[in-house]
Structure formats: structure tokens, C-alpha cells
Subunit: 490 residues, 2 copies
């Protein structure tokens, strides 16, 4: 057997383990009773350590080296390159450091869960300092192994090939545009229209969500919709598990949550079945994944046309009068600078991300002390959104990411939003009457385009190359800005 074939077998096993882990995570969030948590933690830790042992066994490096010289086709070579990336990330950092960081994250996250509601940054400063110090060690080691800057070595874990130099240019552009644009939007924004009042029974919200999923192309032979506290898309490409959360007073969050997660799910379901269980067959990084959810949620469905399609469906499901598509659209499009990222609208969201990107880069580079984090945060909020968080609960304590060791993740949210705008713009040029299709609730032409241009490519190309082939240009902020101008100033 060639070394390459041995690697294919190894990575298939790793994929099976990883999929098992995925279902245990879904189960933990969607159905597990609380008493199962401790054992579940042990099950997950064992699967993770077995996976790490398999990947970093001494033979793997030899196989990777020998396979480079073997006769491989284009697809196999792309697969081999993904394998080496996985191996580099896994083998670079010594086991004890990985474990120390993992424990520091668990400890810090636990304290953060108390410090956040108490708005007490001092309480969590020391454990966060531990996490940051260890993360900087990991970043330094991975920086050597990957030939990247420390921050980019972290970013590469979530966004393969992502580079902060390029992100800085994009975010500088967007950061310069947003404050003035926001003032424009706010100055023109009229009063919010009145909408039909609830309660909106969960069973009806669920029926509506399922109907939309079906309509969007979700394959229920290969997936499910369930409930969880924090909506997510989990499972595997053959069995995608999405979740949402229902509020009987407001049907919009669950509905748009379902649409968002269905965007993620369609990506997974559209990965080539014949590439299953190989690294090149996986989805291509976090920003492209987020682009698929935001393309459905923000580009296709937060549109006047889609709300006109939706209004009679809502009237049919919930009954009562006053279901007007234009009113629904206007109510959903409200812009308001506020402190919390996850509640932010489409216009102010990038400001939250730019702030975090700048601060985490400074933290990793050692240019910002943790002691200075709260005030640096508040200053950036003033600069970008013109508001000052009244406390750290609504400031630097709001997101779990850093307290759980996820540095380098935040930029993928806004890269995803920009990528979504650029892909949807290109789809609109390729598909005659795309807007009319959406207004009629016909998603098939859009899905078919995405299958061809994005989903079916899996990880064969870099994110940048995929986008260039799909849209004719590299990622730039102009299309996103044009989208915002069109939607919020017209």
C-alpha cells in the first residue's frame, strides 16, 4: 500500500471518530439530561485524546513525507495538503501544553460564568491571564511550525489560509465607512411599524420552520431540526443536526435562526458524498461556512421580497390580521447601535467584530495588557459606535470566546458577511430573476448555484481561490458596502 493510501485510511478513521464526537456534542446540547454531563465530558476527552494519538503517531510524519513523492492526481494532492495541515496543527504543540491550556480554558470559562452576570472583570482577570499566556505559547510554537505570525497561526485554525494583513485592509475600509454610514441610516430611519402580537405557539413556529427548511432544500433523510439553548448546526454531512430556540412572544428569532442554520446545513449536505471522510471533502473554513448561513439569512431572506412571500404563510399559520410583508421587512431592518454583539443588526455587527479583532491581535502580540482591556474595549466602542458600555457585562465580558481560549475566531464572522454579499451578488448576475425566485419562495436556482460554486468544491481550493472562481474577484468590502447602502439608504 502506498503511503498516501495509508494516510487515506488513517484520516477516514479520524473522520469517524470526529463524527462520533459531533453527535455526542449534539446530544449534550439537544437531549442529554444534566446528570450525564460529567460522564459525557470523559467520553469526549477520551475520543479527543485517541484522535490526537492516532494523528500524531510517529508513522504519520513518514507517510506524509513519502506521499509527497508519490504519483498523485490533483485531488489527492489537495487532500494530502489538508492532511499535512491537520498534522502540523496537532503535532506542533507538545501534549502537556495542550492539556494545560485545555484545563486553563475550562477553569477560566467556569469563573467567567459567574464574573459576567456580576460584571466583575477583576474576578476573571487572573484565569484569563493564564489562558492568554498559554495561548501565546501555543501561537509562538505554531508560528514556527507553520511559518506564520503568532496571530495568523491561531487564525489558521479556524480560517485555513486566512492572513491578518488582508483582514486589516478589509476591516480598515469597513471601519472607516461604518460610523458615517450609521449616522446616515439613523438620521433617515422612520418610526417602527406595529406588528401582530403573540403569543405564537411553539408548535406553529416549528411547523413553519420545517416548511421553510424543506422549501430551502434541506434534506430530511439526512438531517433533523431540534431545540437547544444556543442554536447551532452540528452532526455530519450525512446527518446534519440543526437547532433553534423558541420565544412565544416573538417568532422572528426562531424563524431566522432556522434560516441561518439551514444555510450552514445546506453547505454540509452539499459536500460531495464521494469525498466523504477525507480532509479535502470537508467544508472550507469558518468564514465560508458563515457566508453560507448569512447568505440565506441576510442576503436572501432579510429582503423585501422574501417578507412578501412570508407574510401569507405567517397569516396562515398564526391567524389574525395585519400580516404585511413590507411592515415585517421594515420592522426587521431597524438599526440601533447597542452593546451586545449577538443582538446586533447587520449594520453595526461589523463594528463589534473589528473591535474584537484589533484587541485580540494586540493581546496576542503583547501590545495590550489584560488590565487595560476593559478601558480599551470601551474606547473602541466609542470610536466605532459612539456609545460607552455602562459595565463590563455589556463590555469585554459578554462573549465566551477568549475565556474559552478561542483567539483568532472573531474575524470569520464579518469575513463571512462580506463573502455572503459577494457570492449573492455574483449569483444574482448568473441567475436570471433571482429576486423574483426568492419572492416566490423558490430557492432551487440559488441552491443549485451554491452547490456548483461553493458546496461541491469542499476544500479543493483555498477560500480565496474559491471566491475568485465563483465571483471573478477576491474578497473586497465594496460589494458589502454597496449592499448596506442599497438596503438601508434606499
Amino acid at each position: 500500500m502506498t503511503s498516501y493510501r495509508k494516510l487515506e485510511s488513517l484520516f477516514a478513521r479520524l473522520s469517524h471518530l470526529d463524527q462520533a464526537t459531533g453527535f455526542l456534542h449534539w446530544d449534550m446540547s439537544a437531549v442529554m439530561p444534566e446528570g450525564g454531563a460529567a460522564s459525557r465530558g470523559e467520553q469526549l476527552a477520551t475520543l479527543k485524546s485517541l484522535s490526537h494519538e492516532l494523528l500524531t503517531a510517529p508513522a504519520t510524519k513518514d507517510w506524509l513525507d513519502v506521499a509527497e513523492g508519490e504519483d498523485l492526481d490533483h485531488w489527492q494532492r489537495a487532500n494530502l495538503s489538508e492532511m499535512r495541515r491537520d498534522w502540523l496543527h496537532a503535532s506542533a504543540v507538545p501534549g502537556p501544553l495542550v492539556e494545560e491550556l485545555s484545563k486553563a480554558c475550562s477553569a477560566c470559562e467556569m469563573i467567567w460564568r459567574q464574573a459576567r452576570p456580576a460584571s466583575d472583570f477583576a474576578q476573571v482577570a487572573e484565569p484569563l491571564g493564564q489562558v492568554l499566556a498559554l495561548t501565546r505559547q501555543v501561537a509562538e510554537i505554531k508560528s514556527q511550525a507553520l511559518g506564520l505570525s503568532p496571530y495568523d497561526a491561531l487564525l489558521d485554525q479556524y480560517e485555513p489560509g486566512g492572513r491578518s494583513a488582508e483582514i486589516e485592509i478589509l476591516f480598515a475600509d469597513l471601519g472607516a465607512f461604518l460610523p458615517g454610514f450609521l449616522q446616515d441610516v439613523l438620521s433617515r430611519q422612520g418610526p417602527a411599524p406595529a406588528l401582530p402580537q403573540g403569543p405564537f405557539p411553539v408548535a406553529k413556529q416549528k411547523a413553519l420552520g420545517l416548511a421553510l427548511m424543506r422549501n430551502m432544500g434541506f434534506d430530511f433523510a439526512h438531517g433533523r431540526l431540534d431545540e437547544s439553548l444556543h442554536p447551532f448546526c452540528g452532526g455530519t454531512p450525512d446527518d446534519v443536526r440543526i437547532t433553534t430556540r423558541y420565544d412565544e412572544q416573538n417568532f422572528l428569532p426562531a424563524l431566522f435562526g432556522v434560516i441561518h442554520e439551514t444555510g450552514h446545513a445546506l453547505y454540509e449536505q452539499g459536500l460531495p458524498a464521494e469525498w466523504r471522510h477525507q480532509p479535502v471533502g470537508r467544508a472550507r473554513g469558518m468564514s465560508l461556512h458563515e457566508s453560507q448561513s448569512l447568505l440565506m439569512e441576510m442576503q436572501a431572506c432579510r429582503s423585501r421580497g422574501f417578507f412578501r412571500h412570508l407574510a401569507p404563510l405567517l397569516a396562515g399559520e398564526f391567524g389574525g390580521a395585519g400580516w404585511d410583508g413590507d411592515d415585517l421587512y421594515a420592522a426587521t431592518m431597524r438599526v440601533r447601535p447597542d452593546f451586545i454583539r449577538v443582538d446586533a443588526d447587520e449594520v453595526t455587527y461589523p463594528a463589534h467584530v473589528i473591535l474584537r479583532f484589533r484587541l485580540e491581535k494586540a493581546l496576542i502580540a503583547g501590545d495590550l495588557d489584560l488590565a487595560g482591556l476593559p478601558s480599551a474595549w470601551n474606547q473602541a466602542m466609542r470610536d466605532l459606535l459612539g456609545i460607552t458600555p455602562p459595565d463590563d457585562r455589556r463590555g469585554c465580558l459578554q462573549d465566551i470566546h477568549w475565556f474559552d481560549g478561542a483567539f483568532g475566531y472573531f474575524p470569520t464572522y464579518s469575513l463571512g458577511a462580506m463573502t455572503a454579499a459577494q457570492l449573492f451578488d455574483a449569483a444574482g448576475k448568473d441567475i436570471p430573476s433571482l429576486a423574483e425566485h426568492i419572492e416566490a419562495g423558490r430557492f432551487a436556482p440559488l441552491l443549485s448555484w451554491l452547490r456548483r460554486k461553493v458546496h461541491g468544491q469542499a476544500s479543493l481550493l483555498s477560500s480565496g481561490e474559491l471566491l475568485r472562481q465563483a465571483t471573478g474577484k477576491r474578497l473586497d468590502a465594496e460589494i458589502f458596502k454597496a449592499h448596506l447602502r442599497r438596503r438601508y439608504l434606499n
Copy 2:
């Protein structure tokens, strides 16, 4: 670290893997969409092979041998003995033979799924021959490794320490008793009373089942009730997943299914938490597990007292008139010799098991050819129950067990029934007014007795020794026979 400690670490990891497998199985039966099946099969196969590789790694045997000479307490020695049993079963059979048998079972089971409804034994005779030939090879190899007869080596997989010589004595006793007793019961049986008619909505059946589970002591912080085609008890001791199946025309199967599986679940939930993830902390074999479900279902709840407790609950849930405890009891206690084991009543059930035990012993010993199986089956039905199956669908094709390679499993059903009778009899002597407690729906005194005598012992004792300590004697058929006489002839 001592070799014994190394073994404890190894077996903890194996337990985590095994628990992960358990949840993937539950998921497959309770929630997985059909399109997830192929990937799920691969996930399970990978977990199983990793577990086998870990257990049979060369170091394990050395650790087992060295640990024998280490300073161990009573509990550790019992744990070590369970570890060696696991290792012997796993390491005895060469990997290629395990795999060949596994594939033969999958192939045979698939053909059986068509042959059964077609009642076509000839169609499945050859693949079953393959399964049998390979199983006999495995039995021969395990016979050498364990110092047991080939059949007992198979039996030992399900019933640690179980010996066919003892089962033969018990089954000879029961087999001699049953035909005459059955005639007595049938000659005295009056007409069946009329019961309230359905439909009985699933939601109400479920509410009733959940209320009963709670009442019986099921801990919902450590478990759930769901639905599946074939009811079962899965998950782990910290998170027990039981399932049932609802029929809107008849509430009894789902209700008694829930009671049965709750009996299994209470055993799992009662295993000592501090022994978790070690072999000695597991439930003690199949017959004792079945005894816990049958003790709840057949001994405690298929009683006149429990039906008197149940009648007003049924009336409250389903409404309508005619809910009489004595009528319900009489209707549920009907006896009728029939062809299908899983539909059999308490009196005729052992005949189905005795028949299978005798035939599978003969098959493994080579005393019965597969070609002669259908006629041998039908002859045994005539001898034991006085009826002749009109076709093989209702004869030797009805159960999945042999077609899936499970030889040596069947006797545990009736050992479980006898063990249940003996334990319940002893509990009745130890607990003042046990019958009154059951009639009042108070399960706490019974559960507390089971926790002490059975659940809390885990695998510290052999099944036989556990029963002797709990009841003062070894398993004998007299108590079960007395139970049947009392219930069906009085």
C-alpha cells in the same frame, strides 16, 4: 505506577469508548434519519476496532499477569478478574476470524430480513450455515482459552459464569412441569372481561408512562424516555435512555414496555457511582439484568394489587367509564399457547426459551444439521406447547438472534424470569406488607431492597453468589413454579 493502576486507566478509557458507542446506538434507534445509517455504521465500526486494539495491545497481558502478584484488596481483585475475562474474550479469537464472523452475520441478517416474511428457510440456510460454522470455530477457540465447553464459552459472553449443565437441570424441571400446568390453566380459564375501548392518545400514554417511571424511582436527571421501533434500555448508568412504542388502540404494550425498561434502568442507575468506568462496576450479566425488568413487569406490576392502583390513574388520564382493576388484571393474565416468543404470556414463554436452548446447544455441538432445524423446531413446539407452526415464519425464522450470530443468549430470558421470582419472593419476606406497598403505588421499599441486594453489588459477586446472598439459596425452579401456580390456578 503499578500494573493494576495502568489497567484501571486502560479500562476507564475502554468504558468511555463503550459509552460513546452506546449513545450512537441509542441515537440510531431513537432519532437518526435514515440517510445517516451508512456513516453511522462506519463510526461504530471504528469505535469498536479502536476499543479492540486498545484492549488487546501487547502490554495488556503483561499488566494482567503482573497485577496478579500485586497487593490488591478484595474489590480490586474482583475488578482484575473482570478485566481478565474481558481480555480473554477479546484476545482469544484472531482478528480476521472476528471480522469474518461479523461480516457473515451482517450478510445473513440482511437475507433473513427477506426470508422471514417470505417464510423461506431455504433462502437463508446457506448464510446461516456460514454464521454457524464460524461461530463454532469461535466457540472452539474460546473453549480452549476459557476451559469451558464450546457452548458454555458462548454463553459466558452474555452470562458470566453461566453453565449449561446447571441450566439443563433447571430447564428439565420446568420443561416437565409446564405442559401439565398449561392444561390445568387452560381448563380453568374463564371468558375474557371487556375493557374500555380506545383510541388512547399517545400524549396521554406518554404522560402516564412518565408518571409511573417517576413513581418507580427513575431519576430523570440521569435518563430519558423516548420512542423507537423496538423498545430497549440503552445509554449509560449516568444517563439511561429507555424507549417504548405506542399503539393508540391498546395502551397496555407501551405501558408495560415502560415498566419493563424502567426495571432495567433502575439497575443501571443503582450501580455504585464510585465504581463507574471499572469492569467490576458494571451490571452483572444478562440474566440478572432481565431479572430486574421482569421483577418490575411480571412480579410487581402484573399483580392484582398494582392493577387496582392503576385503574383510577387510567380513568383519570383516558376518561370514560369501566376502569376496573380486577377486570384489567384478568384480561392481562390470559394464557394461550402460540407460535411467537415475543408475544408469549408468562406461562408459555419458558417453553419458547427451552426449545431454543436445546436446539442451539445441538447446533453448536454438531448434533443437529441446519437442514433438520425446521422440523426439529416444530417437533419441539408440539412436545412443549402442543401446537405446530403452520410455516417457518412462525417457526425457526421468527427471532433475529441466530441469524445475527447470537448463540448462547436465549437461556438468559428464562433464567431472568426465575431469578425475578426468587428475588421478589425474598423481598416479600424482608419487607413487611410489600403487596400493600405495591397496591398503594409505593415502590420505594422494594427499590431500596434491590439497591442493597442487587444494584449496589454491580459485578462484585458472581450471579449465583449474589442470588444466594440475597435470597438464601441458589437458583431453583420451585419458586417460579409456585409463583405461576399461585397466580394462574388460584
